[in-house]
Amino acid sequence: MSSEKHMTRLRDAGGTEIEQRLLASAAADEMPEEKFRALVQWGTAIAPTEAAPPAAMPGWKLPLAKGLGVLALAAASVGAFDYVSSRSSGPVGEPHDVSKAVPVSVGDGADRLEAPPAPSPAGTVAAVPVVTADDLPSVPVAVPSAAPPARSVAKKPVLDEVSLGEQMAFIDSARTRLRQGDPRAALTVLDEYKRRYPEPAFREEATVLRVSALAKAGDVAEARRLGEAFLSTHPAELYSRRVEGIVRSLESQESSQ
């Protein structure tokens, strides 16, 4: 791979036996597979597809990382994954500074980089298809189309990978619909998710999406009701800050009318 002809790696022929043994020991630095899978799941869950940008959310305080916006919140809130450990041990550094310190070349806008939105459903709830694997190319697990999975015999807290993937597909789909400006479709997906998974792994995420979707759909009263209910039961959760932001923005909208 190297084009540095005059600089042979010590690991190869360039080093002494001692040097080579030392360097060869780093070959064991493989990321454990289970950690990699968890990372990908986490990455899927926090993918930047927010319907409500941080700037629209007054009252946000980001304990994990100021300046990271909703992603920091999402990252610290995807409690279904054991992978996320930031809450217990705190951030490694100050990501605000980290972000600033990284030199990047600026592209020509976010839209170019986002996956092109799929054609929007006709606008009615009935027209919204239930999630299919084709709808969700980023999640390689098809949502079952038949009856709900018969795994409720034992309430096993450890989710198998298939279930997690399926559930994530719903969350992903709802988020996508919301991003596409179709909150009603998002709500339909969330309804279906709720029906299929009465004890969902992504309860908080689904609720936050629902509050966002309701607010966007103009169902302000229900958004507020659900948001306040969420806040009353999750007062200290990071997601609460986002819901609180939505509720506050609804309040300010109402007061200005």
């Binding site: 030392l22 990271l68 100050e94 980290v98």
Partner: protein, 167 residues
């Protein structure tokens, strides 16, 4: 989804890089999340094709913060597992056949290298990058990358020779 693709394509690379840049194993999960959170935040700014370099530069900053935090907590002792090997304070080449022990010694050596040399050394030895690519990843001129690489190799060789008894 571009972000997920980034995680899938570069997660392993970042994990290894952070490890080799001195982030302790116990902090790797946090560190890699930090890197990807920054990437998610700035996804629209990352030029196609420059993703890996962007992630690595972010990892450099994250690892520097992690190491600074570590420096404030001075204990970085060798663990019980190493006691046997450490009964001889100057290990030999044969001791390095124990991979775990060799790995710990490698950590010590890398930790003693100046940061700027360590980075280019890691990229060259473990990622097999040439000086121009290292320059791109670290954001320095090619000439600087090449000269740092030469110095880094010398530094590494001296440290290894000092730590391991020649037999």
């Amino acid at each position: 989804m571009r972000f997920r693709a980034l995680v899938e394509a570069h997660g392993r690379f970042l994990w290894q890089s952070l490890r080799r840049l001195g982030v302790p194993e116990a902090s790797l999960d946090d560190a890699i999340q930090q890197v990807f959170l920054v990437a998610a935040e700035r996804l629209h700014e990352i030029q196609p094709g420059a993703e890996k370099a962007f992630l690595f530069r972010t990892a450099l900053n994250v690892s520097a913060h992690a190491r600074r935090r570590l420096a404030r907590k001075p204990e970085r002792p060798l663990e019980d597992d190493d006691v046997q090997a450490l009964s001889d304070p100057a290990p030999t080449a044969d001791d390095l056949l124990d991979r775990r022990y060799a790995r710990r010694l490698l950590d010590e050596i890398l930790d003693e290298m100046p940061d700027d040399l360590r980075v280019v050394f890691v990229l060259h030895e473990f990622e097999e990058l040439s000086a121009p690519r290292i320059a791109e990843y670290v954001g320095i001129p090619v000439g600087t990358a090449a000269s740092r690489l030469r110095r880094a190799r010398e530094e590494f060789r001296q440290l290894a020779a000092r730590k391991v008894k020649q037999t």
